[in-house]
């Protein structure tokens, strides 16, 4: 009788859909070197809110590229969704295939925040792209995340340890600095938190920042000041509220790795 040894695969979901930022998001995927085999799900969300707005005659879209104003039309919006999903799928294939990751791609329609929250409950890692911003980014020497530090949020929660491990891995693979943001409700908790983080980091050089606010906006400001290349946050699914998800999705200056 044959015995099958089940091999647990790490489930990674990559949120895609903006060609300006997808490349950086997928670059994070390439840097990930999970000890266990990983399977990757590419996710594209068709924003149902936009579709519902399409039938309102006074609603207009202002195109940032051409600076032309036009009516939002449902049929055209559908075509755009399909085209973006196709581009995102191709980009995922180029990133995942060479690394041997089994991958799949899904296109869902709904409220992006709600869908992300739901998806987060089912995966081990989720990658979110940086916010696109109002205009194409100004030039960055070296391009992408190269040379920019990996920032990890470290708090009392249990997933923070895993998040720090993922951040260390990304920093090693990208040969870049590791910045650990120690987050606690009270300043008294920070020394112990730091000691715990240092124990996990070992000899690896790391910089520490302390944050006593639980506000995601403050975290994102810190992220921008450090010009980080990736932000790694450990989150139990139930703790990530819709507002936080929306902020991370719309305001982050770099790709975000959510670790459960």
């Amino acid at each position: 009788m044959m015995t099958e040894k089940a091999v647990a695969r790490i489930r990674v979901t990559v949120m895609l859909g903006n060609s300006l930022t997808d490349r950086d998001t997928l670059a994070v995927l390439e840097l990930l070197q999970p000890e266990s085999p990983a399977e990757v799900l590419g996710l594209y969300i068709e924003d149902s809110e936009l579709l519902s707005l399409a039938d309102i005659p006074v609603v207009r879209e202002y195109c940032l590229l051409t600076q032309v104003e036009r009516r939002l039309q449902a049929a055209e919006l559908e075509r755009q969704f399909r085209a973006q999903a196709r581009i995102a799928e191709q980009a995922l294939a180029r990133a995942a295939s060479p690394r041997g990751y089994p991958w799949s791609f899904r296109s869902l329609r709904g409220d992006p925040v709600v869908l992300l929250r739901e998806m987060l409950a089912e995966v081990d890692l989720m990658l979110l792209g940086a916010a696109a911003g109002m205009t194409p980014a100004t030039r960055r020497r070296g391009g992408g995340a190269a040379g920019r530090p990996v920032m990890a949020v470290f708090d009392q929660a249990e997933p923070a340890t895993r998040a720090l491990q993922v951040a260390m891995q990304l920093a090693d693979a990208g040969r870049t600095r590791l910045v650990i943001v120690l987050t606690a409700a009270h300043p008294d908790e920070l020394p112990a938190l730091r000691q715990r983080a240092a124990g996990l980091v070992g000899d690896r050089p790391a910089e520490y920042l302390e944050l006593t606010s639980r506000d995601t906006a403050d975290l994102l400001s810190q992220l921008r000041r450090q010009v980080a290349g990736q932000l790694v946050i450990g989150v139990p699914a139930e703790k990530l509220d819709d507002e936080t998800i929306a902020l991370l999705r719309n305001r982050s200056a770099c790709p975000v790795v959510l670790v459960r």
Binding site: R60, E61, G133
Partner: protein, 811 residues
């Protein structure tokens, strides 16, 4: 009858007395490096090399093998050693206009140093710039600048969102832009809800959306300006960091090359360019963007793998380096094509396109010889398309303007370069023969302007005892240089004699070093074959005989046909109107002569002597001149008071290939006078010499070959003792006859008669007194001249009689 004495055997060959040579073998002699007898040419070359005025280039003219190159090498070696080393030349990128590379002049040896310094600078700049741009300080400042823009954008967006919210509008970001949607209780309203709204409410929302859109557009218009300011700040930051990183490195080089303003200017431009193009240092050393790198001045020589774009852009193309030289350069260009002289711009094929850059500029001989001397063979230069024009243009403009030939001729339209011209200061030596020199003088008006000094090499020099001894030293040099056996005294003497014979004059020695060198080599060969350690006279003689044998096939066939009676030549008896002339043939290096029968026929006529060779265009102008002189001689000497009333024809029998020269004019006159006098001419004699209008016998060329040519025929038929050759007295000094001829004369079997005028010739050839004119102009009865005069008078009378009867008949 005049008694004309034949020459003695000793007069036919002037031996070189071995006793004059005070050595046992040439190994004892100090080598004489300089060719003999070329004082005039050497002096001209000294003058030409020393004078610094414009256009004083040299044309070294003279026969092949006269030692022109040897003298040039020796003189230039001395001049070069005494002169300062020439400067180095480099081409570098012109950052303002890459199609016009800059030329840099550096002190000798410094070109390579500059290249090394700049290679090192680029290498260090790589490190310094990479470190600077990867530093935390740089990143902090860069991100601070970028953050400023980011903050501006976010603040603008937040302000806009607030503005929109106040108007009941939500700003939603999409992947391509933003959507402005109406909200109620912070939530977007659906299409159904919107439709249920009253019309005025819908219009109000529409107005609000338009207002928000207008505000958004206004905000968006300010962002590019902010972005431009950010980019400017980033550029200034890059500039500042770059200057800091490479400034000190370049300043060190500027200090080092402070005495060279153009190099300093280049280094300053380079610094500015590095700062402007710092990205090429930070993109690694791959070969990416090859075309762009090349077009912007990439290193070509090879496009070495691993060369960074920076290495290519800032390469130093050292086209002339005099680092290893001692003194001024001396360049012998053996293949003087246009590109080999002027230089060239190579192209490379890249993805089907021909591309080039400043590192593909290749130097020509003029570049290498700049500041020194350039030696070119004139004939080789003139046969190369456009090479002569290119050289003249460079000499006239005193600068080397490197262009591809295709570009000069507008044959190609490929993008090419226009390198900065290099100032030219070179003394050019053209080496060629005399004909070329005089043709250039006549047909090229620029030639006399550019080549003002002619160094004319002698064909021969005086045969004095001193010169013979010096010549022996020169032979010693040849033997030593070519690692040949030394010559003993007899061998040396025989070799000198051979060179005297080569000169065609017993009082001269040929200046042809090539001939002498070859003879020494060939003599050495026979000495080796005979197992001798020293070259003796027998080895030299063997070499001469073998050389003659190798070259004499045509001569032997010709003589054979005479002996077989195919070519009609009598060597005994006497015939009216027929004489043996002597014609010379030059086949390559080998000259030989053979007898040729000249005949004359006379009849009553109007006084014209017809040269049949001329009529059929087999005779050259000199030959025709000789014949035309005969008419003047006849009328002037014999019938000065009557019209010359004969018709005569002269012909070289069995001549099918043309004849040139006037050396047979004496023979032709003898044949004509024989025909007139009806006196037969001896066929055992041959005659050579040109005739003057007064009947004097003048010198001719090739006297030795001519005597030997007739001797060979007589000898092979059997010498009768009466046979011989009449030669101009003026040619006696040229005699260096073969030993067998000399010995035949010594034995009384053959004779050589020196003659000064036609009467002596007639006496010898007819055996009768020629007859001198008395005071009354009459010749003694029975003499050759009297018979000629009588015949001519008879012709005149007959012609007169014909003329009278014609006139009577007419009336």
């Amino acid at each position: 009858m005049q008694n004309i004495k034949p020459l003695s055997a000793d007069e036919l060959y002037r031996r070189c007395d071995p006793e004059l040579l005070d050595f046992e073998t040439t190994a004892e002699l100090e080598a004489l490096a300089e060719p003999l007898g070329q004082d005039r040419a050497v002096e001209a070359m000294q003058f030409g090399t020393e004078i610094q005025a414009e256009g004083y280039n040299l044309y070294v003219l003279g026969p092949q093998g006269s030692g022109r190159h040897t003298v040039i090498r020796r003189i230039l070696a001395g001049k070069s050693a005494a002169s300062r080393r020439a400067d180095d030349w480099c081409y570098v990128n012109n950052f303002q206009d890459p199609s016009k590379p800059r030329a840099l002049r550096l002190p000798p040896g410094e070109g390579v140093n500059l290249r090394k310094d700049i290679d090192q600078l680029i290498d260090e700049s790589h490190t310094a710039l990479t470190a600077a741009f990867e530093s935390n300080e740089y990143h902090a400042r860069q991100h601070a600048i970028e953050e400023e823009l980011q903050e501006y954008q976010e603040n603008s967006f937040e302000r806009l969102q607030a503005y929109a919210r106040e108007r009941g509008i939500k700003v939603i970001q999409t992947s391509t832009g933003v959507v402005f949607a109406p909200i109620r209780d912070d939530k977007t309203i659906s299409a159904d809800e919107f439709k249920k709204l009253p019309k005025d409410k819908q219009e109000h929302i529409d107005a609000m959306i338009r207002e928000v859109t207008a505000e958004f557009q206004h905000t968006m218009q300010s962002i590019p300006e902010e972005a431009r300011k950010t980019r400017q700040k980033l550029r200034e930051l890059d500039h500042e960091v770059s200057m800091l990183a490479v400034g000190s490195l370049i300043n060190q080089l500027i200090q080092k090359y402070m005495s060279l303003p153009r190099v300093v200017a280049y280094l300053r431009d380079m610094q500015a360019d590095i700062v402007e193009n710092v990205d090429i240092f930070l993109k690694g050393s791959g070969n990416e963007g090859t075309i762009q790198a090349i077009l912007s001045g990439g290193r070509s020589s090879g496009f070495e793998q691993g060369d960074s774009p920076a290495m290519r852009r800032y390469a130093v193309n050292v086209i002339v380096s005099n680092s290893g030289e001692e003194g001024a350069p001396v360049v012998f260009e053996n293949h003087p094509t246009f590109p080999n002289l002027i230089g060239k711009i190579e192209h490379m094929s890249e993805m089907g396109t021909l591309i080039t850059n400043f590192t593909l500029i290749r130097p020509g001989a003029l570049h290498r010889a700049n500041g020194g001397y350039l030696v070119i063979d004139a004939a080789k230069l003139l046969v190369q398309p456009f090479a002569w024009e290119g050289l003249k243009r460079a000499l006239k403009s005193r600068e080397i303007r490197t262009q591809s030939l295709g570009e000069v001729l507008s044959l190609i339209s490929t993008v090419s370069l226009e390198p900065e011209p290099v100032p030219l200061n070179t003394k050019v030596f053209l080496v060629g023969d005399r004909l070329l020199y005089y043709l250039l003088q006549v047909y090229d008006p620029e030639f006399p302007e550019l080549f003002k000094v002619a160094a004319d090499f002698e064909d021969e020099f005086d045969r004095s005892p001193e010169n013979s001894r010096l010549f022996a030293r020169m032979l010693a040099m040849m033997a030593s240089r070519d690692r040949l056996r030394p010559l003993d005294r007899a061998g040396t003497a025989r070799l000198i004699e051979a060179c005297v014979r080569e000169a065609g004059d017993a009082e001269k020695i040929s200046a042809s070093l090539m001939n002498a060198t070859d003879l020494v080599r060939e003599s050495d060969f026979y000495a080796a074959r005979s197992g001798r350690h020293v070259i003796g006279s027998e080895d030299v003689q063997q070499a001469i005989d073998a050389r003659t044998h190798r070259a004499s096939r045509i001569r032997d066939r010709l003589q054979e046909e005479i002996l077989r009676g195919t070519l009609l030549i009598d060597t005994d008896g006497a015939v009216v109107g027929q004489v043996n002339a002597l014609a010379i043939a030059q086949l390559g290096e080998f000259a030989f002569a053979h007898p040729s029968r000249v005949t004359a026929r006379v009849a009553l006529g109007s006084g014209e002597v017809v040269d049949i060779e001329r009529e059929v265009e087999l005779g050259g102008p000199l030959h025709s001149k000789g014949v035309l002189i005969l008419s003047g001689y006849l009328s002037g000497r014999y019938v000065i008071d009557r019209p010359l009333s004969l018709s005569a024809s002269l012909v070289f029998e069995q001549n099918y290939s043309g004849i040139e020269g006037d050396s047979a004019s004496a023979a032709e006159l003898c044949a004509l006078l024989s025909a007139l006098s009806a006196l037969p001419l001896r066929q055992d004699l041959a005659i050579t010499g040109s005739i003057s209008q007064h009947g004097q016998i003048q010198a001719i060329g090739g006297v030795n070959e001519k005597i030997e040519g007739f001797f060979d025929i007589c000898n092979r038929r059997g010498l009768s003792g009466t046979q011989g050759v009449l030669i101009p007295t003026a040619n006696v000094k040229h005699l260096m006859l073969r030993n067998d001829v000399v010995e035949a004369v010594r034995a009384g079997q053959f004779s050589v008669y020196p003659v000064e005028d036609i009467d002596q010739c007639l006496s010898l050839l007819t055996g009768k007194e020629a007859g001198a004119a008395g005071e009354d102009g009459q010749f003694a009865t029975g003499t050759v001249n009297a018979l000629v005069r009588e015949r001519l008078l008879a012709f005149a009378e007959q012609r007169h009689a014909f003329g009278s009867s014609d006139r009577n008949g007419d009336s």
